[in-house]
């Protein structure tokens, strides 16, 4: 197992700014979503990605639309990092007809196959096999597409983790398994639910590389993901990356998260990836504070416009309940 330190990576200023922009867009989307939820504009369950932005963005910066990702119940960040339309997402979360899934899916099922985003997932561990499948398509078609499977620390105990990584390893599938270890599965701590200190340790059980990365650092994520993605595209098989990260809010909206101490939350907030990465950008002269503020303001404008459009959009017609169960005929 390799513990990836933050490495100097050759990235253009443009790429770095693009990464920051994506990260801030996720953050602004999530904090706005939180308010919209509190205002009763978003029905159902909502799990916020705020705090984990460096993971999705560090990884997805490597990807094209022809690459695939599978996601989780905490999927907004993955969607945005993969380029899913913000307005379509906002409308989807609100249950409107203009939603990216026509209001059928909601927060836990946002998807955009065209963009290579194979869906948030309401089933913990549900994405592992799907990711193998997308990677199998690439292998059979002989393309160099790669698939990223995002999953939580809690999911790392599910049977599908084991079965899928073994399958990917023996078939040398072009897939990268990215564990977002935020220390908790709902109210249950990682220390309690998992029998090893690092999920990455488990890679040895499949004969594949296991890598631990600082999930609050987008550059460390970028470089670890880069290695793994290159390996996958080369046909050398999967890698297991464990990103040590943190969710800034509760498990879902409504969870007071009293199982975490204020000190623990504070310690992580001090390492907020937007603050540290922002400082890196200003410190290296790639951006000014004003540039960063401008990006945040633009993100806010985008997200506000998305939610405003969602609020103005029509509800689906009840008759649409029966649509899209099958390709060839309608449910009844």
């Amino acid at each position: 197992m390799v513990v990836t330190e933050r490495r100097a990576v050759e990235l253009t200023g443009e790429t770095l700014l693009g990464m920051y922009e994506r990260m801030v867009l996720i953050r602004v989307f999530e904090e706005t979503t939180m308010r919209q939820f509190a205002d009763g504009q978003i029905p159902g369950f909502v799990h916020l990605y705020a705090g984990e932005e460096a993971v999705a963005v560090g990884v997805c910066t490597h990807l094209a639309d022809s690459d695939f990702i599978t996601s989780t119940h905490r999927g907004h960040g993955h969607c945005i990092a993969k380029g899913v339309d913000i307005a379509g997402m906002a409308a989807e979360l609100m249950g409107r007809r203009t939603g990216i899934c026509k209001g059928k899916g909601g927060s836990m099922h946002v998807a955009d196959v065209e963009k290579g985003m194979l869906g948030a997932n309401g089933i913990v561990g549900g994405g592992f096999p799907l990711a193998c499948g997308a990677a199998l398509t690439a292998k059979v078609h002989g393309t160099d597409a790669v698939t990223i499977c995002f999953f939580g620390d809690g999911a790392s105990n599910q049977g599908t983790f084991h079965e899928s990584i073994n399958l990917a390893a023996i078939w040398k599938l072009p897939v990268v398994f990215v564990c977002e270890n935020n220390g908790y599965a709902e109210a249950t701590t990682f220390a309690y639910h998992c029998s090893v200190a690092d999920v990455a340790t488990r890679a040895a059980g499949y004969g594949i590389p296991g890598v631990i990365v600082d999930g609050l650092d987008p550059l460390a994520m970028f470089s670890a993901a880069g290695d793994a993605i290159a390996r996958a595209r080369r046909g050398d098989g999967p890698t297991l990356i464990e990103a040590k990260t943190y969710r800034f809010y509760g498990h879902e909206e409504g969870d007071a998260a009293t199982y975490r101490t204020a000190e623990e939350v504070e310690a992580h907030r001090r390492r907020d990836p937007l603050i540290t990465f922002g400082a890196h950008l200003t410190g290296t002269g790639i951006a000014t504070e004003a540039d960063l503020d401008g990006m945040r303001a633009r993100a806010q404008t985008t997200v506000d416009a998305a939610y405003a459009a969602g609020a103005a959009a029509p509800w689906p017609d009840p008759a649409e309940t029966l649509d899209d169960v099958y390709v060839s005929y309608r449910g009844r």
Partner: protein, 340 residues
């Protein structure tokens, strides 16, 4: 019948009370599930902060019975539900929680191939006194992975008993019976009923599995309704009563074994049957009830049997779609009018 003191409890409180009573009586009763205690190894949690299950139904039990009997599990339904089966076969009486019934696909083998069949395969030389509590039902905009009913799948399976209470009193009485039962019982709690209040008997008053309950007496039509649909049916019955139509509402309460005698008796009186089921229609409990009556109650019938069910679709997220998905009192009343 001796009078039993009652007080008002919610459906969730009634479930909690049944578990508490059973755990006090029998040290073999243990509880396991994800966050069933909540925050398993978190020391700073003050008592009522522990989750007590994702929906708070088991709150307070870990404080009374300790972490040795109220066990938080990793997110590994096959392992912990299968462990509950193994524990049941070797002397415990576990109560396992499957957080949402929609997750059954990740652990079904342990339920139906192991738990349900073990006694039969072993020639009657084993028991599986296990209760699996799970939540069902649409109405929280929880979308396609958190809103189904699917008790039909379990009702189909030999070796499993299925219970789906509609009131706080039934929830308590049936759960007491289920925990005491020597077979594998799936106990379906409707998420939208948790907040419902009702009179609940004090103490250890169980209700036998396999007994239906007539929730409203009437002569013109029988409405058999399951779980939350009992309340939709009762509302429909009120609408119909205003039109002079008196519906009898029968709540089977347990789906397997099913008290078909009570249903047939009601149809013998009313000659008409509407069945209301929030589950998808094909291979549903609704269709099974219809089939039983179309056979054994055929001569009583004066009209076609109508089923009012969810459509043959997953549960949609958007509120207007989800409302269209759930059988409504209006649909039920219309189905009744159509066969009168």
């Amino acid at each position: 019948m001796a009078t039993v003191a009652t007080r008002t409890l919610t459906y969730a409180e009634a479930v909690n009370e049944a578990i508490r009573i059973s755990m006090r009586q029998d040290p073999n009763v243990i509880l396991l599930g994800e966050d069933i205690a909540g925050g398993a190894d978190v020391d700073h949690l003050v008592d009522d902060e522990a989750w007590g299950g994702a929906l708070g139904v088991t709150k307070g039990l870990v404080q009374e019975f300790g972490r040795g009997r109220v066990l938080d599990t990793p997110i590994t339904e096959s392992a912990f539900i299968g462990a509950a089966v193994g524990a049941a076969a070797t002397g415990l009486r576990p109560i396992a929680e499957l957080m949402f019934v929609d997750f059954f696909g990740v652990c079904m083998d342990q339920i139906f191939d192991q738990g349900a069949k073990l006694r039969y395969m072993f020639g009657g030389k084993a028991r599986c006194p296990l209760v699996i509590r799970t939540t069902i039902g649409a109405g929280l905009n929880a979308a396609a992975h958190h809103s189904g009913c699917h008790y039909s799948v379990f009702t189909h399976m030999p070796g499993i008993k299925c219970v789906a209470p509609s009131t706080p009193a039934d929830a308590k009485g049936l759960l007491l019976a289920a925990i005491r039962d020597d077979d594998l019982v799936l106990f379906f709690e409707h998420k939208l009923l948790y907040g419902l209040s009702g009179e609940v008997p004090e103490g250890d008053e169980s209700i036998p599995l396999g007994t239906a309950d007539v929730k409203r007496v009437g002569n013109d039509v029988t409405i058999v309704a399951i779980s939350r649909m009992v309340h939709q049916a009762l509302e429909a019955a009120e609408q119909l009563a205003a039109e002079g139509i008196e519906a009898e509402v029968v709540d089977p309460r347990s789906l397997s074994p099913l008290d078909s005698d009570s249903i047939l008796a009601s149809v013998a009186k009313t000659h008409r049957l509407v069945i209301v089921d929030e589950d998808n229609p094909l291979c549903s409990v609704a269709h099974t009830i219809a089939a039983i009556v179309a056979d054994e109650g055929f001569d009583s019938l004066d009209a076609p049997i109508r089923c009012v069910t969810a459509p043959h679709t997953p549960v949609p997220f958007s509120p207007p779609l989800e409302q269209a998905y759930i059988p409504s009192p209006e649909q039920i009343a219309a189905a009744v009018r159509a066969i009168l």
